[in-house]
Symmetry: C2
Subunit: 674 residues, 2 copies
Amino acid sequence: MEDLEGTKRIVIEHVQPQINCGKYPAKRVVGEELVVTADVFGDGHDEVKAQLVYRHSKKKTWSQVPMQFLGNDRWQAAFTPDTMGRYEYTVQGWIDHFYTWQKGLKKKFEANQDVTVELQIGAQQLEAAAETAKPGQQKRLRKWAGQLRSNTSAADAVAWATGPEVSELMHACCERQNVTTYAKTLQLDVERQKALFSTWYEFFPRSAAQEAGQHGTFKDCARLLPRIAEMGFDTIYLPPIHPIGRAFRKGKNNSPTSDPGEPGSPWAIGAAEGGHKAILPELGTLEDFREFVHQAREHGIEVALDFAIQCSPDHPYVKEHPAWFKWRPDGTVQYAENPPKKYQDVLPVNFETEDWQNLWQEMKSILMHWIEQGVFIFRVDNPHTKAFGFWEWVIAEVHKSYPQVIFLAEAFTRPRVMEQLAKIGFTQSYTYYTWRNTAEELKQYMTELTQTEMREYFRPNFWPNTPDILPYALQEGGEAAHITRVVMAATLSSNYGLYGPVYEFGINTPVPGKEEYYNSEKYEAMHWDWGRLTKTREVITLINKIRKVNPALQTTWNIAFCDTDNPQLFSYVKWSSDFKNLMLMVVNLDPHNTQAGWVKVPLWQLRMPQDQQYQVHDLLSEHKYTWTSEWNYVELRPHEMPVHVFRIETTTPGMGHDNLDDTWLPNDHHTSNE
Amino acid sequence: MEDLEGTKRIVIEHVQPQINCGKYPAKRVVGEELVVTADVFGDGHDEVKAQLVYRHSKKKTWSQVPMQFLGNDRWQAAFTPDTMGRYEYTVQGWIDHFYTWQKGLKKKFEANQDVTVELQIGAQQLEAAAETAKPGQQKRLRKWAGQLRSNTSAADAVAWATGPEVSELMHACCERQNVTTYAKTLQLDVERQKALFSTWYEFFPRSAAQEAGQHGTFKDCARLLPRIAEMGFDTIYLPPIHPIGRAFRKGKNNSPTSDPGEPGSPWAIGAAEGGHKAILPELGTLEDFREFVHQAREHGIEVALDFAIQCSPDHPYVKEHPAWFKWRPDGTVQYAENPPKKYQDVLPVNFETEDWQNLWQEMKSILMHWIEQGVFIFRVDNPHTKAFGFWEWVIAEVHKSYPQVIFLAEAFTRPRVMEQLAKIGFTQSYTYYTWRNTAEELKQYMTELTQTEMREYFRPNFWPNTPDILPYALQEGGEAAHITRVVMAATLSSNYGLYGPVYEFGINTPVPGKEEYYNSEKYEAMHWDWGRLTKTREVITLINKIRKVNPALQTTWNIAFCDTDNPQLFSYVKWSSDFKNLMLMVVNLDPHNTQAGWVKVPLWQLRMPQDQQYQVHDLLSEHKYTWTSEWNYVELRPHEMPVHVFRIETTTPGMGHDNLDDTWLPNDHHTSNE
């Protein structure tokens, strides 16, 4: 019995967020509120109080936030972290005997019962509190106790004893007894704001050359920075920049053999020139790369590198660390395969090796090497084919010194696997958005991401395309689909990215029957006309500008869907947490035909009055409409502009009124018409 | 890094059942299956295996059950406990490299690839397994390895290597490497079958006298045993049998004062004659009580006592243990109150007392005292007004020596509180059934009890009435409501009970405007005509017999609801776990009017064929109907019989064919008619 705390009567349960019973942290960014809820209750009818306590793990003292009662024994409080790193939080509850007494006293007095003895009980409580109170409080407590014991009228005594002054005094100094603290201290990982709001542009540096037939260099890449910045991207993601293996080098269109001079796939990492810490000589030197990273930063752009744990047969690791690979009876290293498919230019690393500690340390050293060159974002290639334990360890190791490092998980695989990668530390995750096309699919998927436990730890990054994926929607839908898919990505998810050049130039020739690009840039260098201005590029530029000035689009979590009477019209609203910035998107999902219908604006959800005019301002077309009710008519012509991106501008004080600088709005743009 | 297990690649998550992250055990009875599910997955595409392991906590060795793959990384296995007490269970997973190899080999061979090296890899695996295998297995493994290395045809080698003999051999002796065991060992409490299937009759022993005006005794109670047994009850629950306080004794109809000779409320426990371990002298001696318990057992009935932790002002504890009570400034003990209501005949015990250890030990000694008299069931009065920690401790303490003891929680309070009481050890719980009247309410509530996590730890016990509660439905619905409410209680929940005499005699005069009995037996002794046979009594007798021979009604968990086209018709099916016993209930919820309509039998759910005749046999009326499709017409006249209790008797082998002894069916009964 000695280990029991017999006099504690409060139960605390079901504290949320809580990922896998507290095994993994929830996630927020600096300045993003964490709402904590819990069931807190005691036996009997005494009055319960609860508070949230939290601290940054590097601080000694805990902050306290009183919890609000939501009903049905559920309580809630929130705090907003202001520092990167790990926070801890938990919940406490106790019985407030004085408040219990106050409520009882009031009821008894109102029922005309004699409260003489009750007032003495209250005086006892005040005196007991005085025992441990500070001198000034002590005096006031004893004064009040004396007044309750004096012969004032019961009415006066009840009024004083239940009034705000006594209540506040007792709240401040009455020692809480038998406080129950929730058994677990839960964890919160706080990252920088870019973890939640980022805009990615992927391109192959080898295709950045000015002249056709030349191999692009980092200097060529630097020349592209103004255009990429002008388009509104804040992150450039480069496929691997390392030496490319020669053994089994892939040729054009994934040919198992290559002709001399073909560059091979950059994911076949490692050659005589070096491995994961080296740079492909054709791209330039390490100094060139550092200079490119520096110049990008001057354009407000960070460079993200690809982290692909796999080796070409020529990678130095194969000789230096044979224990990291599986060897076949014929003396060769086991190549990657998904029977009957073989990927002989790529050797997987064997995470079951007995030498795993050296392997892990070396992998960490690769990340640290590039961090030292100024790279703080890694897009991780196929993390789901490497051991989960490794990722959990290496991300934590990196974050110990560099909490600002962002890891994006490239995993288009089974749901549990993708969730696990997010739980063990990946900052952002690729998603199934790429294949969600109908309004119902999109709504269901967004609901899963934002309304389930995933919201607490899984930050989506929406990619309409990648070098690996040319979805059927883009193959079939042409320019209209390219516009709707990127606008939806950019407005549904605050993190989104594009495999850029092919997207803006509308290249969508597939390998027949497959969701892959024909003449894929993975296997050859391209030459792009970087100066070419397409409507898609114009919309990308616009939507990225719109994202920058509308806080509602800088978070993924505040979303609600609008009823429409036409299933080809997909519509949703987003809002800033202060409800000052309200956005309404309406998308024609049919890339071929004009679609029209009625859309219901969920005024209640946006905290807008039901009976008042409001203006919707299409930030793409600059058209403005005055609406008066929930249901409104919309018509979208795919070959003009298949999407509305409305800002709702009400005349209600405090609603939809952000101090927006509209000077960036272009004068010349494609418009919709209704 | 030393504390990491770097080569383990399997993740195990979300093992269920799991109550509060494993803090509390799940519950089953002896012979009741526990189905365990888990997410088990690894990185990459290697083949995963999983198993459930479990043991009784008093055993050393673990049993293993291979888990079946359900899809989407979810796995399932089950076991059936055969012993009371605590079980432990958890889940293990590993990568099956040999099976991975087999699948790859087959695919490569089918794609006409050269498998020479693959076959050597397989031979290596067989040889590695031989290293640690038993001698006989060793020989066979080496033989197979040799065959793979020999120059047999690839076709033959692939056939052998992927055939059942090699597969079974490797399954049996290949040492599993890098096995991940789920981080938590979960708990299961296994109780006796009565925890799940019990039929309770509550009466006040003081009203058992043969002569009006006499105080009933245990000898009088014993005379009632044949009738109660004949009605099919297996549990008699007696309100407190202890001396009743004299101070502030309640009079008839809860009067705050009593006249001399009035017996008071039995819940005002304790007087000069003794406290919780004593017996009210008017009822008899301890020896009389033991004799009554003994005779009850001979009728197949167990006696349940009330355990009410509260004291009359005359209870010996007040003087012996003043620290267990709260004292008021006027020198009196704080009585129970819910301001402005006062219960001056009852003193609550202060669970915040510093002397809590002695208090808890004394409370435990009360239970042990009555257990030693042969009482193994306790109905606990208002457990939600005593500390949760106490219940958790005392139930565990009792179960250490007497795992067969059943605790029924009388808590009609907030959902979280009722759930918590079940989690911390109460065997059964009173429920909100008493106030669920419409088909929709009943369906929702049954869904909550049987389809949510509550199913794992909360065993409902349905009471249509109690001495405290005469629900409006019984006040207004008369005999028809008494019949439907008891038949639904008895067929929805495998545990049910009645506050018997008033129920069978149809007494339903309320305190005006309240859900309370007028002239409540709580405050006076009654004299009942125990020989009186009512239609309600007859139905109770019949339904209890039906429960005894139909396993589908001996569990609460197998239930599905039937669509009807009349909301006044509430219909549901139940089935035994082997689907041999199928029951269909149809209830007319309108106690005043005949209701008719169509009811859809969920054939699919009952695993019945869609296109075959079946017979429904009303076990109340003995009428039989032959039905041929899902939808069937039903008509119920409330003043004849407002409910059908059908057994579905199909002609499909193995379906609805239990070896039932129908000889008990009465010849004379009320019938419905359609």
